[in-house]
């Protein structure tokens, strides 16, 4: 079966060691986690892991089952890219003088819908949220001018279909 991108959403208790337990399931199958984000969820005291992997549908099915059976995991969903609205965020740190010396940078920021979050004497910081390809485009555009620092977040995603966690929690 063909490999594809999958976003795995894990709703869990917020406990020490759970990340290790979950990542171990990927390790066991020698699968690289392409992106990982942990945050609070729409339910009080319930955490949400958003994990992106590139693998077969069969393995995603198995992995979802194996994560879900961990004691502190409430529910796991997997979605293809088409089934989710997803974004990543990136920060670019660029030398301040470029903003004034290289007019083109201002156009790049405008054209890519990026934002300047801070400007100081030495550097300014551009933030960009969107699909990875959009962030990559901005990266490629800024690269020739010199990027002092770059960081990109893990994917965050919401599903187009409902994830009925509250209902599920009531059922337990």
């Amino acid at each position: 079966m063909e490999n594809a991108w999958y976003t795995i959403s894990v709703y869990s208790e917020n406990n020490v060691g759970l990340l290790n337990r979950i990542s171990g399931i990927f390790l066991k199958r020698h699968i690289n986690i392409e992106s990982l984000n942990v945050s609070k969820s729409e339910i009080d005291n319930v955490s949400k892991f958003t994990i992106v992997v590139f693998t077969t549908p069969n393995w995603v099915y198995n992995i979802v089952g194996q994560i879900e059976k961990q004691i502190e995991v409430i529910k796991v969903f997997s979605h293809t890219d088409e089934e989710t609205i997803y974004q990543e965020s990136a920060l670019f740190k660029v030398a301040s003088h470029l903003l004034f010396d290289e007019r083109e940078i201002q156009n790049i920021i405008k054209d890519t819908n990026a934002q300047i979050v801070t400007v100081s004497r030495e550097f300014f910081v551009i933030s960009k949220s969107g699909r990875r390809s959009e962030i990559d485009t901005l990266y490629d555009l800024l690269k020739p001018f010199g990027i002092m620092q770059f960081v990109r977040s893990g994917r965050i995603a919401v599903s187009k279909a409902e994830m009925q966690i509250s209902l599920l929690l009531k059922g337990y």
Partner: protein, 573 residues
């Protein structure tokens, strides 16, 4: 001091974490634990000393032995086995037992000491990250760093270990938490919101399965340990008898249905019986009960039971469709599922179909079994040893096996009349399992005959547990089948590596003298005419007993499905 507190008392009493731990164990009905002391667990051992009239601690000779003993105890009794160790090496020595219990679904709680909270992460003496290390091989684990956590966490530990699909839990307790005081009250755990121990099977799945089963022409049942773990033996037998469906077992399902049952057609898998393997690929309906389609059972999945509609009764949703796609999955407890399924099953017989199993059996008997059980050539076979053991123990013994040729032969030929009688390391294949597991089994079922059947290789992996037998006078019968080789690996070398016996020849010590050194009555036989009497003597003996049988060195276990081959490519020679 000792009895000042009822372990389930409601009003809080201020006690140390170490004492609280003992009360938790008592509240869970634990009266026997296995372990090995050390620095970071000493406060708990001090309390064990005070509570020794209520809680027996068996000092094994290695922490791995403690885990396997706890497993043997759990498997024979259905109760949670408990093992306890210190931090660092004590903790890491538990890992094999944890992994074994995890893959074979054995309820076990392991408790480890840990360095004090303020030393965590500093590479303190005997500090090791046992939570990190044990995570992949535990159903759950937790590090207690405050005494106040102890009651709740211990209650959770036991609930998780024994409920649903059972498994091992490790609780790591820092030394400060053992010393600190807490207000102790104990409430058993019955609910964890993120953990659904037993999924409720759907009515639709039961009805769909019944429909398929009732119209099947060549149905076939494979049963695993799920039947034993859910205590479904009687209802399962009723299901087999009413439906008239031939039933075969996985190595962990063995003894759930008596060997002599007319519908018990033998073992599936790599060294299983000819008929069950061949006919897996001819049945029209395959009913899997409490088993997980391990690769040693299925061989090549691409050619496994492709013609059949598969009904999978399974408590763990993660096992459904993992290896074999189910036509109908009944996700729930085996006993509850079978109880609902049975009334919908029409009474039936499948005589012609059953005859096909018998025909294959005849061929297997002629080619393999007869020579194994009634050899005419010189050189003792493992098979004849098991045959005589069956006779002398009247098919009533608990058989604890290690891993390798003797294990396959014992499982193939041992006769069982009672459930929970076959204890072996199935999934992990842990050499060294049998001797300590037999100690636990004997303590878990003191009125039963417990025979550990072990190869000369595996025996030497945990041979130090003879010390535990010696100290406790545990009446385990140790039957070492000595072929001077790591026999199963040697067999593979012969078959697949052109007989290059790389590191499989064993230079063995005098096992009889070693046993005698531990004051265990011991004998060695190598002649056929002495065998029967030697086994009879072993069974008749009241205390621990050691019997070495020197068997033929280069005997191979057949039938065999080579790795990657299809079940229908099973070889008889």
């Amino acid at each position: 001091m000792r009895n000042r507190l009822n372990s389930t008392s409601i009003s809080p009493t201020r006690i140390s974490g170490a004492e609280a731990l003992i009360h938790c164990l008592l509240a869970e009905g634990v009266d026997l634990i296995y372990g090995y002391p050390g620095g970071a667990i000493m406060p708990v051992y001090d309390e064990l000393f005070k509570f020794q009239d209520q809680l027996t601690h068996i000092l094994t000779r290695h922490e791995q032995g403690a885990t396997h003993a706890a497993q043997g105890y759990a498997r024979v009794s259905g109760r949670v086995g408990v093992a306890i160790a210190t931090s660092g090496p004590g903790a890491t020595n538990l890992v094999t037992g944890l992994a074994d219990a995890q893959i074979d679904s054995t309820p076990m709680v392991c408790i480890t000491g840990q360095v004090s909270r303020h030393l965590l992460g500093t590479d303190a003496f005997q500090e090791t990250d046992i939570i990190g290390i044990s995570t992949p091989v535990t159903k759950w684990n937790y590090q207690i760093t405050y005494a106040a956590e102890i009651p709740e966490i211990m209650a959770k530990a036991f609930y998780i270990a024994k409920s649903g699909r059972p498994g091992p839990v490790l609780i790591d307790i820092t030394k400060n938490a053992q010393f600190e005081l807490l207000d102790f009250t104990y409430t058993p755990c019955t609910y964890i919101r993120s953990y659904k121990a037993v999924p409720k099977h759907s009515r639709e799945s039961i009805e769909a399965a019944a429909k398929i089963i009732n119209s099947a022409k060549k149905p076939f049942i494979i049963f695993g340990q799920g039947v034993i773990l859910s205590q479904a033996e009687s209802i399962f037998k009723a299901f087999v008898e009413k439906s008239g469906i031939p039933a075969a077992w996985t190595i962990l399902g063995l003894s759930a249905l008596e060997t002599a049952h007319p519908l018990n057609v033998g073992m599936v898998g790599m060294h299983g019986n000819y008929g069950p393997n061949m006919l897996t690929n001819q049945c029209d309906v395959l009913i899997a009960v409490g088993m997980r389609f391990d690769d040693r059972v299925t061989g090549n999945l691409a050619t496994y039971a492709k013609q059949a509609q598969v009904i999978h009764i399974e408590i763990d949703p993660a096992e459904v469709d993992k290896n074999v796609k189910a036509t109908v999955a009944i996700v729930g407890d085996a006993k509850a599922s079978l109880t609902d399924l049975l009334p919908l099953i029409e009474k039936n017989t499948h005589e012609n179909w059953l005859q096909e199993f018998k025909t294959y059996y005849k061929e297997e008997y002629k080619t393999v079994i007869e020579g194994d059980l009634f050899p005419t050539k010189p050189g003792l076979t493992m098979g004849e040893v098991i045959r005589i053991l069956n006779e002398k123990s009247e098919n009533k013994a608990v058989i604890v096996t290690d891993v390798g040729q003797h294990q396959m032969i014992a499982c193939r030929y041992a006769h069982f009349t009672q459930t929970k009688s076959n204890i072996t390391s199935g999934g992990l294949g842990t050499m060294g399992f049998a001797l300590p597991a037999a100690i636990g089994a004997k303590m878990g079922a003191p009125d039963r005959e417990v025979v550990a059947i072990i190869g000369d290789g595996g025996y030497q992996m945990t041979i130090q547990e003879l010390g535990t037998i010696f100290q406790n006078k545990t009446a385990v019968k140790i039957l070492v089948l000595n072929n001077g080789h790591l026999g199963m690996v040697r067999q593979w070398q012969e078959l697949f590596f052109e007989s290059r016996y790389a590191s499989t020849v064993m230079c063995n010590p005098n096992f009889v003298k070693i046993a005698q050194g531990y004051d265990i009555t011991a004998e060695s036989v190598s002649e056929r005419h002495n065998l029967e009497e030697a086994i009879a003597k072993m069974i008749a003996h009241k205390g621990p007993y050691f019997l070495e049988v020197c068997v033929e060195n280069e005997h191979n276990v057949f039938p065999m499905i080579a790795t990657g081959a299809s079940v229908s490519e099973i070889r008889l020679k």
